[in-house]
Symmetry: C2
Subunit: 259 residues, 2 copies
Amino acid sequence: MQRMATPSSAPSSTSGIAAAPVFSPLYQQIKALITRALQDGEWRPGDLIPSEAELASRFGVSQGTVRKAIDELAAENLLIRRQGRGTFVSTHHEDQVKFRFLRLVPETEPAQGLRMEREFLECHRVRASGDVVRALGIRAGDMVLEIRRILRIAGEPVVYEDIYLPAAPFRGLTAERLERYRGPLYAMFESEFGTRMVRAEEKIRAVNASAQEAALLRVPEGRALLSVERLAFSYGDQPVELRRGLYSTAHHYYRNELN
Amino acid sequence: MQRMATPSSAPSSTSGIAAAPVFSPLYQQIKALITRALQDGEWRPGDLIPSEAELASRFGVSQGTVRKAIDELAAENLLIRRQGRGTFVSTHHEDQVKFRFLRLVPETEPAQGLRMEREFLECHRVRASGDVVRALGIRAGDMVLEIRRILRIAGEPVVYEDIYLPAAPFRGLTAERLERYRGPLYAMFESEFGTRMVRAEEKIRAVNASAQEAALLRVPEGRALLSVERLAFSYGDQPVELRRGLYSTAHHYYRNELN
DNA sequence: GAGTGGTCTAGACCACTCC
DNA sequence: GAGTGGTCTAGACCACTCA
Protein backbone atom coordinates (compact mmCIF):
# COMPACT_ATOMS: atom_id res chain seq x y z
CA MET A 1 0.00 0.00 0.00
CA GLN A 2 1.43 3.31 -1.03
CA ARG A 3 0.69 6.50 0.84
CA MET A 4 -1.10 9.03 -1.34
CA ALA A 5 0.05 12.54 -2.03
CA THR A 6 1.30 14.13 1.16
CA PRO A 7 0.27 17.60 2.19
CA SER A 8 3.70 18.91 1.16
CA SER A 9 2.89 18.08 -2.45
CA ALA A 10 -0.73 19.19 -2.09
CA PRO A 11 -0.95 22.88 -1.22
CA SER A 12 -3.43 23.76 1.47
CA SER A 13 -6.62 25.49 0.45
CA THR A 14 -5.47 28.75 2.01
CA SER A 15 -2.60 29.07 -0.44
CA GLY A 16 -4.94 29.93 -3.29
CA ILE A 17 -5.39 27.95 -6.51
CA ALA A 18 -7.84 25.06 -6.77
CA ALA A 19 -6.25 22.78 -4.21
CA ALA A 20 -6.37 19.06 -5.00
CA PRO A 21 -5.46 17.57 -1.62
CA VAL A 22 -5.93 13.95 -2.64
CA PHE A 23 -4.33 13.01 0.62
CA SER A 24 -5.93 10.57 2.96
CA PRO A 25 -4.58 8.50 5.81
CA LEU A 26 -3.70 4.91 5.08
CA TYR A 27 -6.52 3.53 7.18
CA GLN A 28 -9.02 5.57 5.18
CA GLN A 29 -7.67 4.05 1.99
CA ILE A 30 -7.99 0.58 3.50
CA LYS A 31 -11.51 1.44 4.55
CA ALA A 32 -12.33 2.46 0.99
CA LEU A 33 -10.88 -0.78 -0.36
CA ILE A 34 -12.95 -2.85 2.03
CA THR A 35 -16.08 -0.85 1.25
CA ARG A 36 -15.44 -1.42 -2.44
CA ALA A 37 -15.10 -5.15 -1.86
CA LEU A 38 -18.44 -5.14 -0.05
CA GLN A 39 -20.05 -3.12 -2.81
CA ASP A 40 -18.71 -5.50 -5.46
CA GLY A 41 -20.07 -8.47 -3.54
CA GLU A 42 -16.67 -10.03 -2.87
CA TRP A 43 -17.98 -10.67 0.64
CA ARG A 44 -21.75 -11.00 0.98
CA PRO A 45 -23.95 -10.15 3.96
CA GLY A 46 -23.42 -12.71 6.71
CA ASP A 47 -20.00 -13.77 5.35
CA LEU A 48 -16.89 -14.01 7.44
CA ILE A 49 -14.24 -11.67 6.04
CA PRO A 50 -10.50 -12.42 6.23
CA SER A 51 -8.77 -11.92 9.56
CA GLU A 52 -7.09 -8.65 10.42
CA ALA A 53 -3.67 -10.25 10.04
CA GLU A 54 -4.54 -11.58 6.60
CA LEU A 55 -5.92 -8.26 5.41
CA ALA A 56 -2.85 -6.51 6.79
CA SER A 57 -0.53 -8.69 4.77
CA ARG A 58 -2.74 -8.45 1.69
CA PHE A 59 -2.71 -4.66 1.81
CA GLY A 60 0.87 -4.41 3.01
CA VAL A 61 0.10 -2.45 6.16
CA SER A 62 0.24 -3.21 9.84
CA GLN A 63 -2.57 -4.94 11.66
CA GLY A 64 -3.22 -1.76 13.66
CA THR A 65 -4.04 0.12 10.51
CA VAL A 66 -6.48 -2.52 9.28
CA ARG A 67 -7.96 -2.52 12.75
CA LYS A 68 -8.70 1.18 12.66
CA ALA A 69 -10.36 0.84 9.25
CA ILE A 70 -12.52 -2.04 10.47
CA ASP A 71 -13.35 -0.15 13.67
CA GLU A 72 -14.94 2.62 11.64
CA LEU A 73 -16.79 0.24 9.35
CA ALA A 74 -18.14 -1.55 12.40
CA ALA A 75 -19.25 1.78 13.87
CA GLU A 76 -21.14 2.41 10.62
CA ASN A 77 -22.80 -1.01 10.90
CA LEU A 78 -21.25 -2.34 7.72
CA LEU A 79 -19.28 -4.98 9.60
CA ILE A 80 -19.74 -6.79 12.89
CA ARG A 81 -16.84 -7.93 15.02
CA ARG A 82 -17.23 -11.08 17.09
CA GLN A 83 -14.40 -11.77 19.47
CA GLY A 84 -12.87 -15.15 18.98
CA ARG A 85 -14.80 -15.76 15.75
CA GLY A 86 -13.89 -13.07 13.31
CA THR A 87 -15.39 -10.11 11.49
CA PHE A 88 -18.61 -10.53 9.52
CA VAL A 89 -20.49 -8.55 6.91
CA SER A 90 -23.55 -7.29 8.68
CA THR A 91 -26.96 -8.36 7.50
CA HIS A 92 -30.63 -7.64 8.06
CA HIS A 93 -31.14 -11.36 8.70
CA GLU A 94 -29.65 -12.93 11.76
CA ASP A 95 -29.00 -9.67 13.55
CA GLN A 96 -30.80 -9.03 16.78
CA VAL A 97 -31.54 -5.80 14.96
CA LYS A 98 -34.03 -7.19 12.49
CA PHE A 99 -36.03 -4.01 12.35
CA ARG A 100 -33.13 -1.64 12.72
CA PHE A 101 -34.86 1.11 10.79
CA LEU A 102 -38.33 0.85 12.31
CA ARG A 103 -38.39 3.25 15.21
CA LEU A 104 -42.00 2.69 16.17
CA VAL A 105 -42.42 1.40 19.71
CA PRO A 106 -45.59 0.32 21.49
CA GLU A 107 -46.75 2.68 24.23
CA THR A 108 -47.11 -0.20 26.65
CA GLU A 109 -44.30 -2.67 26.15
CA PRO A 110 -45.96 -6.04 25.57
CA ALA A 111 -44.92 -8.99 27.69
CA GLN A 112 -44.61 -11.11 24.54
CA GLY A 113 -42.62 -10.11 21.51
CA LEU A 114 -44.82 -7.99 19.31
CA ARG A 115 -46.87 -9.86 16.77
CA MET A 116 -46.53 -8.10 13.43
CA GLU A 117 -48.42 -8.87 10.24
CA ARG A 118 -47.92 -7.37 6.81
CA GLU A 119 -50.49 -6.97 4.09
CA PHE A 120 -49.39 -6.03 0.60
CA LEU A 121 -52.00 -3.99 -1.20
CA GLU A 122 -50.19 -3.40 -4.40
CA CYS A 123 -46.94 -3.94 -6.31
CA HIS A 124 -46.70 -2.60 -9.80
CA ARG A 125 -44.41 -0.85 -12.28
CA VAL A 126 -44.99 2.83 -12.92
CA ARG A 127 -43.13 5.64 -14.57
CA ALA A 128 -41.25 7.57 -11.89
CA SER A 129 -42.65 10.95 -10.94
CA GLY A 130 -40.36 13.97 -10.62
CA ASP A 131 -40.00 13.60 -6.86
CA VAL A 132 -38.99 9.98 -7.14
CA VAL A 133 -36.58 10.71 -9.98
CA ARG A 134 -34.83 13.34 -7.91
CA ALA A 135 -34.73 11.30 -4.73
CA LEU A 136 -33.41 8.11 -6.31
CA GLY A 137 -31.11 9.85 -8.75
CA ILE A 138 -32.53 7.96 -11.73
CA ARG A 139 -33.32 9.28 -15.21
CA ALA A 140 -36.56 11.08 -15.99
CA GLY A 141 -39.00 8.58 -17.41
CA ASP A 142 -37.34 5.54 -15.79
CA MET A 143 -39.61 2.86 -14.42
CA VAL A 144 -39.95 2.20 -10.71
CA LEU A 145 -41.71 -0.39 -8.63
CA GLU A 146 -44.38 0.94 -6.34
CA ILE A 147 -45.35 -1.14 -3.34
CA ARG A 148 -48.13 -0.31 -0.92
CA ARG A 149 -48.54 -2.17 2.27
CA ILE A 150 -49.98 -2.11 5.75
CA LEU A 151 -48.35 -3.28 8.95
CA ARG A 152 -50.50 -4.52 11.79
CA ILE A 153 -49.24 -4.84 15.30
CA ALA A 154 -51.32 -7.07 17.54
CA GLY A 155 -54.03 -6.99 14.89
CA GLU A 156 -54.27 -3.22 14.78
CA PRO A 157 -53.25 -1.39 11.57
CA VAL A 158 -50.44 0.94 12.58
CA VAL A 159 -48.38 1.70 9.48
CA TYR A 160 -49.32 2.38 5.89
CA GLU A 161 -46.40 2.62 3.50
CA ASP A 162 -45.90 3.60 -0.09
CA ILE A 163 -42.52 2.37 -1.34
CA TYR A 164 -40.60 3.20 -4.52
CA LEU A 165 -37.72 1.14 -5.86
CA PRO A 166 -35.81 1.46 -9.15
CA ALA A 167 -37.30 -1.22 -11.41
CA ALA A 168 -34.09 -2.56 -12.93
CA PRO A 169 -32.30 -4.00 -9.87
CA PHE A 170 -35.59 -5.33 -8.48
CA ARG A 171 -36.81 -7.08 -11.63
CA GLY A 172 -38.98 -10.02 -10.72
CA LEU A 173 -40.35 -8.58 -7.51
CA THR A 174 -44.09 -9.28 -7.37
CA ALA A 175 -46.88 -8.95 -4.85
CA GLU A 176 -47.08 -12.71 -4.67
CA ARG A 177 -43.39 -13.00 -3.89
CA LEU A 178 -43.69 -10.30 -1.25
CA GLU A 179 -46.53 -12.15 0.41
CA ARG A 180 -44.61 -15.38 0.43
CA TYR A 181 -41.44 -14.03 1.97
CA ARG A 182 -41.08 -14.32 5.72
CA GLY A 183 -39.09 -11.60 7.41
CA PRO A 184 -38.25 -7.95 6.92
CA LEU A 185 -38.33 -6.35 3.48
CA TYR A 186 -34.70 -5.31 3.74
CA ALA A 187 -33.69 -8.89 4.46
CA MET A 188 -35.45 -9.92 1.26
CA PHE A 189 -33.85 -7.13 -0.78
CA GLU A 190 -30.51 -8.27 0.52
CA SER A 191 -30.71 -11.97 -0.16
CA GLU A 192 -32.89 -11.99 -3.25
CA PHE A 193 -31.76 -8.84 -5.03
CA GLY A 194 -28.27 -8.25 -3.66
CA THR A 195 -29.11 -4.79 -2.39
CA ARG A 196 -28.26 -4.04 1.21
CA MET A 197 -29.67 -0.97 2.94
CA VAL A 198 -26.96 0.66 4.97
CA ARG A 199 -28.36 3.91 6.28
CA ALA A 200 -31.37 6.17 5.79
CA GLU A 201 -32.57 9.71 6.23
CA GLU A 202 -36.07 10.50 7.40
CA LYS A 203 -38.20 13.61 7.22
CA ILE A 204 -40.94 13.54 9.80
CA ARG A 205 -44.08 15.63 9.76
CA ALA A 206 -47.55 15.54 11.27
CA VAL A 207 -50.43 15.35 8.81
CA ASN A 208 -54.20 15.06 9.02
CA ALA A 209 -55.50 11.77 7.64
CA SER A 210 -57.37 12.00 4.34
CA ALA A 211 -60.53 9.94 3.92
CA GLN A 212 -58.64 7.11 2.18
CA GLU A 213 -55.76 7.11 4.63
CA ALA A 214 -58.17 7.13 7.53
CA ALA A 215 -59.97 4.12 6.11
CA LEU A 216 -56.74 2.16 5.67
CA LEU A 217 -55.61 2.76 9.22
CA ARG A 218 -59.12 2.59 10.68
CA VAL A 219 -59.01 6.01 12.29
CA PRO A 220 -61.37 8.96 11.90
CA GLU A 221 -60.76 11.28 8.97
CA GLY A 222 -58.58 14.22 10.01
CA ARG A 223 -56.81 12.27 12.75
CA ALA A 224 -53.21 13.37 13.19
CA LEU A 225 -50.74 10.87 11.73
CA LEU A 226 -46.97 10.77 11.60
CA SER A 227 -45.71 11.18 8.04
CA VAL A 228 -42.29 9.55 7.72
CA GLU A 229 -40.52 10.05 4.43
CA ARG A 230 -37.50 7.82 4.22
CA LEU A 231 -34.68 7.76 1.73
CA ALA A 232 -32.58 4.63 2.18
CA PHE A 233 -29.03 4.22 0.91
CA SER A 234 -26.98 1.21 -0.06
CA TYR A 235 -23.17 0.94 -0.10
CA GLY A 236 -21.42 4.03 -1.39
CA ASP A 237 -24.28 6.32 -0.39
CA GLN A 238 -26.37 5.26 -3.32
CA PRO A 239 -30.08 6.01 -2.79
CA VAL A 240 -32.18 2.96 -3.64
CA GLU A 241 -35.48 3.32 -1.88
CA LEU A 242 -37.94 6.11 -1.26
CA ARG A 243 -40.68 5.39 1.19
CA ARG A 244 -43.53 7.42 2.56
CA GLY A 245 -45.03 6.00 5.70
CA LEU A 246 -48.04 7.03 7.73
CA TYR A 247 -47.87 5.95 11.35
CA SER A 248 -50.80 5.87 13.69
CA THR A 249 -49.43 7.04 17.02
CA ALA A 250 -52.43 6.33 19.20
CA HIS A 251 -50.72 3.37 20.88
CA HIS A 252 -47.19 3.69 19.55
CA TYR A 253 -44.53 6.34 19.35
CA TYR A 254 -41.45 7.05 17.27
CA ARG A 255 -38.40 6.69 19.45
CA ASN A 256 -35.31 8.76 18.85
CA GLU A 257 -32.00 9.32 20.58
CA LEU A 258 -30.14 12.59 20.42
CA ASN A 259 -26.41 12.66 20.93
CA MET B 1 -3.36 2.45 37.39
CA GLN B 2 -4.08 -1.08 38.47
CA ARG B 3 -5.94 -3.53 36.34
CA MET B 4 -9.15 -4.71 37.95
CA ALA B 5 -10.15 -8.28 38.59
CA THR B 6 -9.38 -10.44 35.61
CA PRO B 7 -11.92 -12.87 34.16
CA SER B 8 -9.98 -15.76 35.70
CA SER B 9 -10.91 -14.52 39.16
CA ALA B 10 -14.44 -13.60 38.04
CA PRO B 11 -16.40 -16.67 36.98
CA SER B 12 -18.45 -16.26 33.82
CA SER B 13 -22.19 -15.95 34.16
CA THR B 14 -22.71 -19.40 32.70
CA SER B 15 -21.00 -21.04 35.67
CA GLY B 16 -23.92 -20.30 37.96
CA ILE B 17 -23.77 -18.16 41.12
CA ALA B 18 -24.18 -14.41 41.01
CA ALA B 19 -21.10 -13.53 39.00
CA ALA B 20 -19.34 -10.31 39.96
CA PRO B 21 -17.16 -9.71 36.93
CA VAL B 22 -15.93 -6.28 38.05
CA PHE B 23 -13.46 -6.46 35.23
CA SER B 24 -13.08 -3.64 32.79
CA PRO B 25 -10.33 -2.70 30.37
CA LEU B 26 -7.91 -0.02 31.46
CA TYR B 27 -9.14 2.50 28.93
CA GLN B 28 -12.68 2.12 30.29
CA GLN B 29 -11.41 2.91 33.75
CA ILE B 30 -9.61 5.96 32.41
CA LYS B 31 -12.80 6.96 30.63
CA ALA B 32 -14.70 6.70 33.89
CA LEU B 33 -12.10 8.82 35.68
CA ILE B 34 -12.31 11.52 33.04
CA THR B 35 -16.10 11.44 33.08
CA ARG B 36 -16.01 11.81 36.82
CA ALA B 37 -13.70 14.82 36.56
CA LEU B 38 -16.15 16.40 34.11
CA GLN B 39 -19.07 15.64 36.38
CA ASP B 40 -17.26 17.14 39.35
CA GLY B 41 -16.51 20.27 37.40
CA GLU B 42 -12.73 19.84 37.51
CA TRP B 43 -12.80 20.88 33.87
CA ARG B 44 -15.71 23.07 32.79
CA PRO B 45 -17.38 23.30 29.38
CA GLY B 46 -15.10 25.07 26.95
CA ASP B 47 -11.98 24.33 29.01
CA LEU B 48 -8.82 22.82 27.60
CA ILE B 49 -8.10 19.55 29.35
CA PRO B 50 -4.54 18.27 29.95
CA SER B 51 -2.70 16.79 27.01
CA GLU B 52 -2.78 13.07 26.34
CA ALA B 53 0.81 12.73 27.46
CA GLU B 54 0.08 14.50 30.72
CA LEU B 55 -3.01 12.41 31.43
CA ALA B 56 -1.06 9.28 30.60
CA SER B 57 1.59 10.06 33.16
CA ARG B 58 -0.99 11.18 35.71
CA PHE B 59 -2.86 7.90 35.39
CA GLY B 60 0.24 5.80 34.91
CA VAL B 61 -0.78 4.31 31.58
CA SER B 62 0.47 4.70 28.05
CA GLN B 63 -0.64 7.52 25.81
CA GLY B 64 -2.41 5.04 23.54
CA THR B 65 -4.67 3.98 26.35
CA VAL B 66 -5.62 7.55 27.21
CA ARG B 67 -6.16 8.12 23.52
CA LYS B 68 -8.68 5.33 23.27
CA ALA B 69 -10.58 6.66 26.28
CA ILE B 70 -10.69 10.16 24.83
CA ASP B 71 -11.71 8.78 21.44
CA GLU B 72 -14.84 7.33 22.95
CA LEU B 73 -15.64 10.43 24.96
CA ALA B 74 -15.25 12.50 21.81
CA ALA B 75 -17.58 10.13 19.97
CA GLU B 76 -20.13 10.74 22.72
CA ASN B 77 -19.73 14.49 22.32
CA LEU B 78 -18.38 15.02 25.82
CA LEU B 79 -15.02 16.17 24.51
CA ILE B 80 -13.83 17.78 21.32
CA ARG B 81 -10.41 17.16 19.86
CA ARG B 82 -8.73 19.95 17.94
CA GLN B 83 -5.53 18.97 16.20
CA GLY B 84 -2.63 21.17 17.15
CA ARG B 85 -4.56 22.83 19.97
CA GLY B 86 -5.66 20.18 22.39
CA THR B 87 -8.77 18.49 23.72
CA PHE B 88 -11.65 20.61 25.04
CA VAL B 89 -14.73 19.99 27.11
CA SER B 90 -17.59 20.39 24.68
CA THR B 91 -20.12 23.13 25.23
CA HIS B 92 -23.43 24.39 23.89
CA HIS B 93 -21.82 27.79 23.39
CA GLU B 94 -19.15 28.21 20.79
CA ASP B 95 -19.93 25.00 18.96
CA GLN B 96 -21.12 25.22 15.42
CA VAL B 97 -23.71 22.90 16.84
CA LYS B 98 -25.57 25.51 18.86
CA PHE B 99 -28.91 23.82 18.41
CA ARG B 100 -27.63 20.27 18.49
CA PHE B 101 -30.89 18.92 19.86
CA LEU B 102 -33.33 20.85 17.69
CA ARG B 103 -33.99 18.67 14.69
CA LEU B 104 -36.49 20.96 13.04
CA VAL B 105 -35.44 22.06 9.56
CA PRO B 106 -37.15 24.53 7.23
CA GLU B 107 -38.78 22.95 4.19
CA THR B 108 -37.08 25.45 1.92
CA GLU B 109 -33.55 26.11 3.14
CA PRO B 110 -33.29 29.88 3.55
CA ALA B 111 -30.44 31.73 1.89
CA GLN B 112 -29.77 33.55 5.17
CA GLY B 113 -29.25 31.88 8.47
CA LEU B 114 -32.63 31.32 10.06
CA ARG B 115 -33.91 34.12 12.22
CA MET B 116 -35.23 32.66 15.43
CA GLU B 117 -37.06 34.48 18.22
CA ARG B 118 -38.13 33.13 21.58
CA GLU B 119 -41.03 34.27 23.67
CA PHE B 120 -41.33 33.08 27.25
CA LEU B 121 -44.93 32.81 28.37
CA GLU B 122 -44.37 31.55 31.85
CA CYS B 123 -41.79 30.43 34.40
CA HIS B 124 -43.01 29.34 37.79
CA ARG B 125 -42.53 26.82 40.56
CA VAL B 126 -45.03 23.99 40.85
CA ARG B 127 -45.29 20.72 42.67
CA ALA B 128 -44.17 17.96 40.33
CA SER B 129 -46.88 15.74 38.90
CA GLY B 130 -46.48 11.98 38.88
CA ASP B 131 -45.21 11.90 35.31
CA VAL B 132 -42.55 14.47 36.01
CA VAL B 133 -41.52 12.76 39.24
CA ARG B 134 -41.00 9.49 37.42
CA ALA B 135 -39.19 11.03 34.45
CA LEU B 136 -36.78 13.16 36.46
CA GLY B 137 -36.26 10.62 39.19
CA ILE B 138 -37.08 13.11 41.95
CA ARG B 139 -39.15 12.57 45.09
CA ALA B 140 -42.92 12.77 45.07
CA GLY B 141 -43.94 16.25 46.12
CA ASP B 142 -40.67 17.88 45.07
CA MET B 143 -40.90 21.27 43.42
CA VAL B 144 -40.07 21.79 39.78
CA LEU B 145 -39.77 24.81 37.53
CA GLU B 146 -42.21 24.93 34.66
CA ILE B 147 -41.32 27.05 31.66
CA ARG B 148 -43.56 27.65 28.69
CA ARG B 149 -42.27 29.28 25.58
CA ILE B 150 -42.79 29.78 21.88
CA LEU B 151 -40.17 29.74 19.17
CA ARG B 152 -40.72 31.76 16.03
CA ILE B 153 -38.78 31.18 12.88
CA ALA B 154 -38.89 34.02 10.38
CA GLY B 155 -41.73 35.52 12.39
CA GLU B 156 -43.91 32.42 12.24
CA PRO B 157 -44.67 30.52 15.47
CA VAL B 158 -43.33 27.02 14.94
CA VAL B 159 -42.66 25.47 18.32
CA TYR B 160 -44.53 25.58 21.61
CA GLU B 161 -42.73 24.01 24.53
CA ASP B 162 -43.54 23.10 28.09
CA ILE B 163 -40.37 22.48 30.08
CA TYR B 164 -39.85 20.95 33.53
CA LEU B 165 -36.68 21.30 35.57
CA PRO B 166 -35.93 20.22 39.13
CA ALA B 167 -36.25 23.39 41.20
CA ALA B 168 -33.18 22.97 43.40
CA PRO B 169 -30.34 23.11 40.88
CA PHE B 170 -32.09 25.87 38.94
CA ARG B 171 -32.87 28.16 41.86
CA GLY B 172 -32.97 31.76 40.71
CA LEU B 173 -34.18 31.06 37.21
CA THR B 174 -36.91 33.58 36.36
CA ALA B 175 -38.87 34.61 33.30
CA GLU B 176 -37.06 37.91 33.29
CA ARG B 177 -33.69 36.21 33.31
CA LEU B 178 -34.77 33.89 30.53
CA GLU B 179 -35.84 36.86 28.42
CA ARG B 180 -32.57 38.62 28.99
CA TYR B 181 -30.33 35.73 28.06
CA ARG B 182 -29.11 35.60 24.47
CA GLY B 183 -28.51 32.16 23.04
CA PRO B 184 -29.81 28.63 23.50
CA LEU B 185 -31.41 27.49 26.74
CA TYR B 186 -28.88 24.71 27.15
CA ALA B 187 -26.04 27.21 26.88
CA MET B 188 -27.63 29.18 29.71
CA PHE B 189 -28.15 26.09 31.86
CA GLU B 190 -24.52 25.26 31.33
CA SER B 191 -22.91 28.57 32.17
CA GLU B 192 -25.36 29.89 34.75
CA PHE B 193 -26.39 26.71 36.53
CA GLY B 194 -23.50 24.34 35.88
CA THR B 195 -25.73 21.73 34.26
CA ARG B 196 -24.66 20.45 30.89
CA MET B 197 -27.08 18.46 28.72
CA VAL B 198 -25.25 15.55 27.20
CA ARG B 199 -27.82 13.43 25.44
CA ALA B 200 -31.57 13.08 25.16
CA GLU B 201 -34.33 10.66 24.28
CA GLU B 202 -37.39 11.73 22.37
CA LYS B 203 -40.82 10.17 21.92
CA ILE B 204 -42.52 11.52 18.84
CA ARG B 205 -46.22 11.37 18.11
CA ALA B 206 -48.75 13.14 15.93
CA VAL B 207 -51.55 14.93 17.76
CA ASN B 208 -54.49 17.11 16.79
CA ALA B 209 -54.16 20.67 18.05
CA SER B 210 -56.49 21.64 20.89
CA ALA B 211 -58.14 25.04 20.78
CA GLN B 212 -55.49 26.59 23.04
CA GLU B 213 -52.58 24.95 21.24
CA ALA B 214 -53.98 26.02 17.90
CA ALA B 215 -54.23 29.60 19.09
CA LEU B 216 -50.63 29.62 20.31
CA LEU B 217 -49.26 28.32 17.03
CA ARG B 218 -51.80 30.22 14.91
CA VAL B 219 -53.13 27.15 13.15
CA PRO B 220 -56.70 25.87 12.85
CA GLU B 221 -58.00 23.73 15.71
CA GLY B 222 -57.48 20.05 14.98
CA ARG B 223 -54.46 20.65 12.77
CA ALA B 224 -51.94 17.81 13.02
CA LEU B 225 -48.89 18.75 15.10
CA LEU B 226 -45.76 16.88 16.02
CA SER B 227 -45.63 16.09 19.72
CA VAL B 228 -42.02 15.74 20.83
CA GLU B 229 -41.49 14.57 24.39
CA ARG B 230 -37.86 14.93 25.36
CA LEU B 231 -35.99 13.66 28.38
CA ALA B 232 -32.54 15.23 28.55
CA PHE B 233 -29.63 13.82 30.52
CA SER B 234 -26.57 15.38 32.06
CA TYR B 235 -23.28 13.66 32.90
CA GLY B 236 -23.68 10.20 34.33
CA ASP B 237 -27.03 9.62 32.64
CA GLN B 238 -28.82 11.78 35.16
CA PRO B 239 -32.20 13.03 33.84
CA VAL B 240 -32.55 16.77 34.43
CA GLU B 241 -35.12 18.08 31.99
CA LEU B 242 -38.46 16.92 30.71
CA ARG B 243 -39.87 18.83 27.81
CA ARG B 244 -43.02 18.47 25.77
CA GLY B 245 -42.88 20.29 22.45
CA LEU B 246 -45.50 20.85 19.79
CA TYR B 247 -44.04 21.48 16.36
CA SER B 248 -45.97 22.94 13.47
CA THR B 249 -44.75 21.03 10.43
CA ALA B 250 -46.40 23.07 7.73
CA HIS B 251 -43.13 24.62 6.60
CA HIS B 252 -40.64 22.58 8.62
CA TYR B 253 -39.84 18.96 9.19
CA TYR B 254 -38.07 16.88 11.82
CA ARG B 255 -34.90 15.49 10.34
CA ASN B 256 -33.52 12.16 11.44
CA GLU B 257 -30.70 9.88 10.40
CA LEU B 258 -30.87 6.12 10.77
CA ASN B 259 -27.71 4.12 11.03
C1' DG C 1 10.19 26.00 17.25
C1' DA C 2 7.47 24.01 20.89
C1' DG C 3 3.48 21.58 21.86
C1' DT C 4 -0.63 19.21 20.57
C1' DG C 5 -3.35 15.65 18.44
C1' DG C 6 -3.17 12.15 14.21
C1' DT C 7 -1.12 8.18 11.99
C1' DC C 8 1.52 4.03 11.68
C1' DT C 9 4.24 0.38 13.28
C1' DA C 10 5.79 -3.91 15.87
C1' DG C 11 5.27 -6.78 19.42
C1' DA C 12 3.35 -8.74 23.68
C1' DC C 13 -0.24 -10.69 26.03
C1' DC C 14 -5.34 -11.44 27.12
C1' DA C 15 -10.18 -13.14 26.14
C1' DC C 16 -13.10 -15.70 23.50
C1' DT C 17 -14.64 -19.48 20.24
C1' DC C 18 -14.26 -23.69 18.18
C1' DC C 19 -12.22 -28.07 17.24
C1' DG D 1 -4.37 -25.85 21.05
C1' DA D 2 -5.03 -22.91 17.09
C1' DG D 3 -7.02 -18.86 15.51
C1' DT D 4 -9.54 -14.73 16.12
C1' DG D 5 -10.43 -10.12 17.86
C1' DG D 6 -9.32 -6.98 22.23
C1' DT D 7 -6.04 -4.50 25.04
C1' DC D 8 -1.76 -2.27 26.08
C1' DT D 9 2.70 -0.57 25.29
C1' DA D 10 6.66 2.19 23.29
C1' DG D 11 8.36 4.73 19.87
C1' DA D 12 8.62 7.16 15.43
C1' DC D 13 7.06 10.50 12.51
C1' DC D 14 3.39 13.70 10.46
C1' DA D 15 -0.01 17.64 10.54
C1' DC D 16 -1.67 21.49 12.67
C1' DT D 17 -1.73 25.71 15.77
C1' DC D 18 0.24 29.37 17.96
C1' DA D 19 3.63 32.38 19.78
